[in-house]
């Protein structure tokens, strides 16, 4: 018997960790991973709510999220490669040609 709120809080924590990672990490790939972490958090709450509402659509939603995540991963990593090719760095703090 696990209270629903536990799951939700866990998902919230994961989401928060993802946000934190995005904010503090310097390596672009890691930042991207943090985004994935956020998505995982979201997924957890979807599943939890699905269980809560006895509505399978929640679980289906998770599939789509995964697909999207996969797609994003492909595109994102491609972009990262492109950037790396142009700038020879993976440090976001050094990727700031565009400013002001």
């Amino acid at each position: 018997m696990v209270p629903l709120s536990y799951y939700l809080v866990l998902s919230g924590i994961l989401f928060a960790c993802g946000v934190t990672g995005f904010i503090i990490k310097r390596n672009i790939i890691t930042i991207f991973m943090s985004i994935e972490l956020m998505l995982n958090g979201v997924n957890l709450s979807f599943v939890a709510f699905a269980a809560n509402w006895k509505a399978l659509s929640g679980q289906v939603f998770v599939f789509f999220v995964m697909v999207v995540a996969a797609a994003e991963a492909a595109v994102g990593l491609a972009i990262i490669i492109a950037v790396y090719r142009n700038r020879e760095t993976l440090n976001v703090d050094r990727v700031n040609l565009l400013k002001l």
Binding site: I31, K99, L100
Partner: protein, 670 residues
């Protein structure tokens, strides 16, 4: 309206002349130009004579309304003309003297450049002056009022190459404007309280008011404001400063505008507004005081002037002062009488002076003249007549009018009389001083030294002026002799026809006279209740006073004779002994300098430094620009958000998200 005299033609005729000369004159020959000018001014004069001939058959005042001019709400002003004895006198003086001076000018200006310009200006002046005289409402009068100002501006600045001339013109116009400002305010008051500016209705409404209520101040205020206007136009203290400078203009101009006609407009206007003034005793008193002071003040200055025209100018100012004394004591007809005679002899004086200047090649400084008596006899004799006339030596014109004024002034208050007599003494003194210095003794200058601007001095020595200039001199001389005889006071066995003639105009004055007389404190003899009807008693006293004033005149003559004929070295010693005072007098009491210091300079500096540089650029523009810069700085600050660093961006997003979340939760929990 009995019969239509086409009064509007009188002013229009000179205007046509002005237009013709102005637009075409450039191509016309001098003969043609002068012909046009003379024709039209002469025609105006003829019209005036015709009107005079018809005069007896008219029902006075004779009013002709031509067309409406301005209408706003219930307030309306027409182009309308107003003819009564007063305007008739003015009409004749203006057209007559004006015509003569036109003739004179043909000779005087013959060699001048801009001949056509001169005559078109001169005709223009005639137009405005006649409009002023014939107007049947204050606004139309104001047209003429401003118009003559314009004409004088143009004519003073006729030799615009000379900066002094240009400045003098400007000075004249602006000083007049100051006066007109008062005039305008007076008009506004009239409009506000009487709703009309047309003389007939207006005076009707005014007459309804009794002088007692005048203490309420409305009429007094109006009167004072009108007086401001008059002071500007007629060169009274404190606005007289422009007139002496106005002598920069050609001499005929000085004669016509700054002696005979325009400067008397103020007198005419006050006389025209007698209905108001009579009900505003305080105003009248002010008029009298201003007149007195001006008369004295100007006379003293005149004593020390050496420029022949300047002397005449100051004498004009002081003579105008006389007229205002007359008005101030409600002796309107006397004032007008003096106006007329003064027009004759002062016009003559100027023309003669012009002839002198002409003959000595543009020299105006009396110290470089002398002994001209024999060389230019006609000028000399006419000048002599004029001088005696202005000095008030019987039986010349000036004597009667001046005597009349003095007598009436005495009736009001002895102070006026004393000052008046003293002024009369001064007048005759400086006039004879001029006379002696110019015509007697030995010639002190050399004709060849002509002023640059006045191309008369080429070569040939002193010569009498051409006929065309002398004829007007002679005519005016005659007038200066006989002009006074139409106003011989009863005391001298005359019947003062002039006074009787003008009587009807001022007859409506009964209620006010007490106030007018009692104002200065001296109680007037009760029998002098009405203008026009001379008191039967008191001829003896009047005669005595007449004697005194004549005496004063002769005294002046004597003194001048002593100082400037017998012992020409004396004046210098006196001057040195008087020292600084004499200096002050010579420099016209530094009035111009004072005005410059307390009005003009602060105004210019203030506007330039404080208003323009300070407020306009300093405060307003700067604040606007600062606002712009401020925006730019803020913009920079906003741009700083764009550090270009993804993590910062994410932080902003997170921050925003947190805020939104907090807000929504707050909304949800409420």
């Amino acid at each position: 309206m009995t019969s239509n005299l086409y009064l509007w033609l009188i002013p229009i005729l000179p205007l046509i002349g002005a237009a013709i000369n102005g637009f075409l004159g450039k191509r016309l020959s001098r003969q043609a130009v002068s012909a046009v000018a003379l024709t039209f001014s002469g025609a105006a004069f003829a019209m005036a004579l015709y009107v005079a001939s018809q005069f007896s058959s008219l029902s006075l005042p004779h009013i002709e309304t031509v067309a409406p001019w301005i209408r706003a709400g219930q307030f309306q002003v027409d182009f309308g003309f107003y003819l009564d004895q007063l305007s008739l006198v003015m009409l004749l003086v203006v057209t007559g003297v004006g015509f003569l001076i036109h003739i004179y000018s043909v000779g005087y200006m013959w060699e001048e450049g801009g001949f056509y310009r001169f005559f078109s200006y001169l005709n223009l002046f005639m137009f405005f002056m006649l409009t002023l005289v014939l107007a049947n409402n204050y606004l139309l009068m104001f047209i003429g009022w401003e118009g003559v100002g314009l004409a004088s501006y143009l004519l003073i600045g006729f030799w615009f190459i000379k900066d002094s001339a240009a400045s003098a013109g400007k000075k004249a116009f602006i000083t007049n404007r100051v006066g007109d400002f008062g005039f305008l305010i007076a008009l506004f008051l009239l409009i506000q309280h009487f709703g009309t500016l047309t003389f007939s209705d207006l005076f009707q409404k005014v007459s309804a008011l009794s002088p007692e209520t005048a203490g309420a101040g409305l009429l007094t205020a109006i009167g004072l404001l009108l007086m401001v206007g008059a002071a500007g136009k007629s060169a009274q203290i404190p606005l007289y400063v422009w007139l002496p400078d106005a002598m920069e203009g050609p001499t005929p101009v000085s004669a016509l505008i700054h002696a005979a006609t325009m400067v008397t407009a103020g007198v005419y206007m006050v006389a025209r507004s007698h209905a108001i003034f009579e009900r505003a005793p305080e105003a009248l008193t002010v008029v009298a005081i201003i007149g007195t002071l001006t008369a004295l003040f100007a006379a003293t200055i005149g004593v020390a002037q050496t420029d022949i025209k300047k002397v005449l100018a100051y004498s004009t100012v002081s003579q105008l002062g006389y007229m205002f004394i007359a008005l101030g004591v409600a002796a309107f007809s006397a004032g007008i009488f003096h106006l007329m005679t003064h027009a004759f002899f002062k016009g003559l004086l100027f023309l003669a002076a012009g002839s002198v200047i002409h003959s000595v090649g543009g020299e105006q400084d009396m110290r470089r003249m002398g002994g001209l008596r024999t060389k230019i006899p006609v000028t000399f004799w006419t000048m002599t007549i004029a001088t005696f006339a202005i000095a008030g030596i019987p039986p010349l014109a000036g004597f009667f009018s001046k005597d009349e004024i003095l007598w009436r002034a005495y009736q009001a208050s002895w102070i006026y009389w004393v000052i008046g007599v003293f002024t009369a003494f001064l007048t005759s003194f400086y006039m004879f001083r001029l006379w002696f210095m110019t015509f007697f003794g030995t010639y002190r200058g050399e004709a060849e030294s002509g002023h640059g601007q006045d191309p008369h001095g080429h070569g040939h020595g002193i010569h009498e002026s051409p006929k065309i200039m002398l004829v007007p001199l002679v005519i005016l001389a005659i007038l200066s002799v006989v002009g006074g005889w139409i106003g011989v006071p009863g005391s001298l066995g005359g019947s003062n026809r002039f006074d009787h003639f003008l009587g009807p105009v001022f007859r409506s004055t009964a209620p006010a006279l007490n106030a007018a007389h009692t104002a200065p404190g001296e109680t007037a003899p009760p029998e002098n209740q009405t203008e026009g009807t001379e008191p039967q008693t008191g001829h003896s006293t009047e005669l005595a006073f007449t004697g005194i004033s004549v005496l004063a005149g002769l005294l002046g003559l004597g003194l001048a004779y002593l100082l400037y004929y017998r012992r020409p070295e004396l004046p210098h010693r006196i001057a040195t002994s008087l020292g600084s005072f004499y200096e002050a007098v010579r420099n016209k009491y530094y009035v111009d300098e004072i005005y410059a210091a307390i009005f003009i300079k602060p105004l210019i500096d203030g506007s330039s430094k404080v208003l323009w540089k300070g407020i306009d650029q300093g405060v307003i523009d700067n604040s606007v620009n600062d606002a712009a810069d401020g925006a730019r700085d803020v913009s920079d600050a906003v741009r700083r958000m764009q550090s270009g660093n993804i993590r910062s961006y994410a932080s902003w997003v997170a921050l925003g998200a947190a805020c939104v979340l907090a807000y929504m939760i707050w909304m949800g929990t409420r």
